[in-house]
């Protein structure tokens, strides 16, 4: 376990090296939030169907969604780069679990993003956009739990895409498709309550809605307490399913692996 903690620490340190990237990330998130809120305000002034929903809830939703996206960003090409350059052999030649190694690197980055990006960006946007506080203390804990599981769903989903590198050597298009699906179906861009029922019915059978929408709804107190346990369970089930698929792919990939270069 010591080794994995060390990996996480190294990954945290590595992020510190790229200071400009860090500031740009925070600014980018705030600008995106600003743009999106402006769009929703414009739509609202036209007196469209969203009149019934309080603008403040929407603003809070947007802020939370973008800040979560900011910290949930992962290095999509980490495996691809290792496979294509052949440096994956160096990782496989160590007595470590490759999947845990990968995960601890991401946890290090996540910790960095929460401390250095999420917290300052949250304070700034809470002040500028006057977001709603969490619905209740109880909901705050449910939100935390749900947000952690949302991260794990996204991680395991990404992991499956990363594993495709072993077959295609080039995962750009798959990553793009996956990103588009998440953007639309997870409620990251547009809250799911604006979607037509037939679409939300479909989304309910996919893992996407459980990444961003579920934790944010809990934060806003928009999910009935009776539904919360059910949703948390579904999140957990998705984690297990995606994890097992990823593990299966990894076992197949190992046999498939061709180390590039002499």
């Amino acid at each position: 376990m010591r080794a994995y903690l060390e990996f996480a620490k190294r990954s945290f340190q590595n992020n510190l090296v790229y200071r400009l990237d860090y500031i740009a990330g925070v600014l980018n998130a705030i600008v995106m939030i600003f743009v999106n809120i402006s769009i929703w305000k414009a739509v609202n002034e036209d007196g469209d169907s969203i009149e019934s929903i309080q603008l403040q809830i929407l603003v809070t939703y947007i802020v939370l969604s973008f800040l979560m996206q900011l910290i949930y960003t992962m290095d999509e090409y980490i495996v691809e780069n290792k496979v294509r350059s052949g440096t994956i052999s160096m990782d496989l030649l160590k007595p470590i679990n490759f999947r845990l190694y990968l995960f601890s690197m991401h946890l290090g980055t996540l910790a960095f993003r929460i401390i250095m990006q999420f917290i300052p960006a949250f304070i700034v946007s809470a002040y500028i956009f006057r977001i709603l506080p969490v619905f209740s203390l109880q909901m705050f804990f449910y939100f935390l739990l749900s947000a952690i599981m949302g991260y794990l769903i996204l991680y395991n989903l990404n992991y499956i895409v990363w594993m495709s590198t072993f077959w295609f050597y080039w995962s750009f298009s798959l990553v793009t498709i996956k990103d588009a699906l998440i953007m639309v179906l997870s409620g990251a861009l547009v809250p799911l309550w604006f979607m037509p029922t037939w679409l939300t019915d479909i989304i309910a059978f996919t893992p996407f809605g459980y990444i961003f929408s579920t934790p944010i709804l809990i934060y806003l107190g928009m999910m009935p307490e009776s539904d919360i346990f059910d949703n948390l369970t579904r999140q957990f089930v998705w984690i297990v399913i995606l994890f097992l698929v990823g593990k299966g792919l990894w076992l197949m990939a190992k046999n498939k692996l061709v180390i590039q270069g002499g």
Binding site: T87, M90, L257, G262
Partner: protein, 333 residues
């Protein structure tokens, strides 16, 4: 029991055949054609604890493929590799703990971090006890002269420094077996010699088994006792370096410097091999002629200034083996 056992090892690569031109590549996209390449074709050998073995073979002979399968990062198509009785394909993590790897062209050091940070990380990866780690570190620092650059980031090191750090990194956990893939590539003569000397000493001191793949025959000659030659995916030679020289290195070269230039010098039992100014070279087989009678024959007829006899370089011996298509020699082990 042997430390490393390789049985009927086979690796077949499936290679996508691409056709020429735009139409051709379109055709390849729609109807992929594959060709199978037998990179390693049924190789057998065993290696005992403490042996130093050189794997050599021309480019594309299958030696890297073999080594990758030996250390468990490539799954064989068929056959098995066992290290200390464990199957390499199944027990990657357990095997990895016993191995040390040095790739001349690939680094295991963290590029942005000081060398010492990588060492610390390796310490926790391999769970090296603190005391053992201190001992090894100070020993290697002394032998390889790491002190001067151990706190510098790896990207600032010269190639020679990096290789020394690389080698120390691969040995911190006292591996039972170390693989060296071109360990001295791109290094100057002094650095090469320093590294070879270090490896010999570690082998003597700790009884570490060492396997080399290299194109530098000096590496083999100076550090290996045994040599395995692979060509076209098959083992074509496997014996001690000494034995190889005895068996194949029968040709000697006689260099003679005469007092003046002679048009033609006839030497029975030897073949004329070249000339420059007053010097002439002759090759002869050790079995068919002996040096003293050759020199005697020459000195009776010509005035000789200088004579030297050269034993064959290991390169020449190996060239002879590559060319000769030697019959597979089964190792007796």
């Amino acid at each position: 029991m042997a430390l490393i056992e390789v049985r009927d090892l086979v690796k077949t690569y499936k290679v996508n055949v691409r056709n020429k031109g735009i139409l051709g590549s379109l055709k390849s996209l729609l109807v992929p054609e594959y060709r199978y390449i037998q990179a390693v074709d049924s190789i057998n050998f065993t290696i005992d604890r403490g042996e130093t073995v050189g794997f050599i073979g021309p480019n594309g002979a299958g030696k890297s493929t073999t080594v990758k399968m030996l250390c468990g990062i490539l799954t064989p198509t068929s056959g098995s590799v066992q290290i200390g009785g464990l199957s390499v394909a199944k027990e990657r993590k357990k095997i990895a703990a016993k191995l040390g790897i040095v790739f001349g062209q690939r680094s295991q050091l963290w590029w942005d971090l000081p060398v010492i940070d990588t060492f610390e990380l390796l310490k926790s990866i391999y769970r090296v006890p603190e005391q053992r780690y201190r001992q090894n570190l100070s020993r290697f620092s002394e032998m390889l002269g790491l002190e001067e650059f151990i706190r510098q980031p790896v990207r600032q090191l010269s190639l020679g420094q990096r290789m020394r750090a690389e080698i120390a990194a691969s040995m911190l956990h006292d591996p039972e077996i170390i693989f060296f893939d071109e360990p001295t590539i791109g290094l100057d003569v002094i650095a090469k010699e320093k590294i070879r000397e270090f490896l010999r000493e570690v082998n003597r001191e700790k009884g570490t088994t060492m396997l080399f793949t290299t194109h530098d025959m000096q590496d083999i000659e100076k550090t290996c006792e045994r040599i395995i030659i692979i060509d076209h995916g098959q083992k074509i030679y496997d014996d001690s370096v000494e034995q190889m020289k005895r068996q194949y290195g029968r040709t000697r070269t006689l260099a003679v410097e005469f007092d003046t230039y002679y048009e033609q010098v006839y030497l029975p039992g030897a073949e004329f091999a070249g000339e420059k100014d007053n010097k002439k070279w002759f090759t002869f087989s050790k079995d068919e002629a002996d040096v003293s009678s050759l020199i005697q024959w020459l000195s009776q007829r010509y005035k000789i200034v200088d004579v030297t006899v050269k034993e064959p370089e290991i390169e020449e011996v190996i060239r002879e083996i590559y060319r000769g298509g030697v019959q597979t020699v089964e190792s007796v082990s």
